[in-house]
């Protein structure tokens, strides 16, 4: 069982890294999702996997029976799933906003905050690179 989980962890991890290195933001988000699940598998595998008795302390006893399952990794994974769900939702909304503004999710095209031509040799060139990047933009959505 541990071997299978380790294998699954490896497969998920390599798929996640492959996707994260893609130029498309959508693929990177999928990679992030897979990575989150790889992390969950790692936590489950780190706890004791093969415990079949429910983790309940019998009346009068003050410890679990020997082959009880370990409830802690489950609690950790539950927390991690919720957090990764929320954060992935945020990143998806963020990339949707980028898509709406620029019409592309190619990370090579996302150069507004880091325009080409920077760093520059002097103040004038740097300012030109920044203005050029700003001029290519549609008007801003929010205030400011």
């Amino acid at each position: 069982m541990e071997f299978l989980l380790a294998l699954l962890f490896g497969v998920l991890l390599s798929a996640a890294i492959y996707l994260l290195m893609a130029r498309s933001l959508a693929r990177s988000i999928l990679g992030l999702l897979l990575l989150g699940n790889a992390a969950n598998i790692a936590i489950i595998a780190s706890g004791r996997v093969l415990g079949w008795a429910p983790p309940l302390v019998a009346p009068g006893a003050n410890a679990l029976v020997a082959d009880a399952s370990n409830p802690l990794p489950q609690a950790l994974v539950l927390t991690a799933i919720v957090i990764s769900f929320g954060l992935t939702a945020y990143v998806m909304v963020l990339s949707w906003a980028v898509w709406r503004g620029k019409g592309t999710l190619d990370t090579e095209a996302l150069r507004v905050a880091e325009p080409r031509g920077l760093p520059a040799a002097d103040a004038r060139e740097a300012a030109e690179a920044e203005t050029l990047a700003a001029d290519l933009l549609p008007t801003r959505t929010g205030a400011r």
């Binding site: 706890g47 906003a97 929010g142």
Partner: protein, 504 residues
Amino acid sequence: MATRADWLLALPLLLPLLACAATAALQSRRDLQRGITAVTAVGLLLASAALVAEVIARGVIASQMGQWPAPFGITLVADLFAASMVAITALMYAATALYARGDTDVLENEALWHPLLAALALGVGGAFLAGDLFNLYVWFEVMLIASFGLIVLGGGREQLDGAVKYAMLNLLATTVFLISVGMMYGLTGTLNLADMARRIPEIENQGAVAAVAFLMLAAFGAKAAVFPLFFWLPASYHTAIAPVAAIFAALLTKVGVYALIRIVTLLLPEGHAWVAPLMWFLAAGTMVVGVLGAAAHWEIRRILSFHIISQIGYMIVGIAIATPLALAGAVLYMLHHIVVKANLFLVAGVIRRAGGTFSLATLGGLWRRDPWLGLLFAIPALSLAGIPPFSGFWAKLFVLKSGFDAGWYVLAGIALATGILTLYSMLKIWMEAFWKEVPEGTPELPPITGATRWLLLAPVAGLGLITITIGLWTEPFAAFALAAGEQLASREAYITAVMGVIRP
């Protein structure tokens, strides 16, 4: 029964938690939101001051939430280092909240600003006080969620662009941290940091410990913007609005450094010879790359962002050498750096208000127009470069002294050279923005007047005053840092405070 220590440890988290909930519920009531934030700022300052006083008087204090005994429940711990970080978090919360009252970018988005700022303070404070690894992860996430909201506040296009990179790389780092948490649990059977510190020497397979620890250091290194994992920082920080950039620059990377120091001192004290050379390499790379990156840029916030990175390098020097004096240097450096860096970003916001831009090419003549602003920029700028009599001089002195004492001459030399290049960057901003004549074609903006001027400049002046105080009245701060360094170097007090008496 909740004891005094329980309250002291819980209050720095309870106050921002309540403030976040209340201000999030009262988004349509601007006046109430402002009132709550003001009360929270004062309360947080008092609570953290009480915490620092208690830790100075009684040593490391720990509190078991819900009375669950130590390795099983959630533990909050404060030693001198953690308590001082909580106090400085409260200070940053107050300073940025005050500045935000005069900042137009915030005023246009104020409904969300208040709950997000409180949530950020909650996450940062929680990370400093967390006594177990999984809670550290959760606090990191709280901090991250709040920062995701803050970085896009204002909704500019370049903010979306920066936020994508910020979010992706930070999520990657946190997930790597989560994987390492799971594996460390598998190795030691515990999540409590103090318990883990006791059990790690008993593990036979120290190679596995080293591998998992390395994974953890990589995750925290990315958070701390350490070379070569810093790329997200200069890609995103300059896009945030001024008070957001200030509190990010002050606190977020420092939480990563805090976690690095905690892990290295607590979990990897001896027997792991690879840590020191690795840290040597990271410290040197971080200092050099950061300062050279800053030298190549001509936009104030980009320059300041790169300087965050180079300054992180000095703190890593402290971790690399890891003598009590070096750790004291790292602590003092963090305290000094948080104040100075936040101040510089706040001043940058005022410069933009006065001159209309962050670009050094179009700025000019600010010294003639507003000498007070020039003075308030000069204090943190010279302190950042390590010029006496400001706080940066003493912080650098601690780090360099520990470096020379330990015989790490090359690293100390790199640190000195980095200081000189820092001065070059600060002089560049000074010459271009304040000293040279106004370039032709730059429109003259009306001067900042009235209450707005006071709201913007009061926190800047206050933080500048702290910088001067640390610089001129160094004794108590140096003594505090030395005591904190001693505490970090010998981990017994921390373990005993959490676990009770160590079993033979």
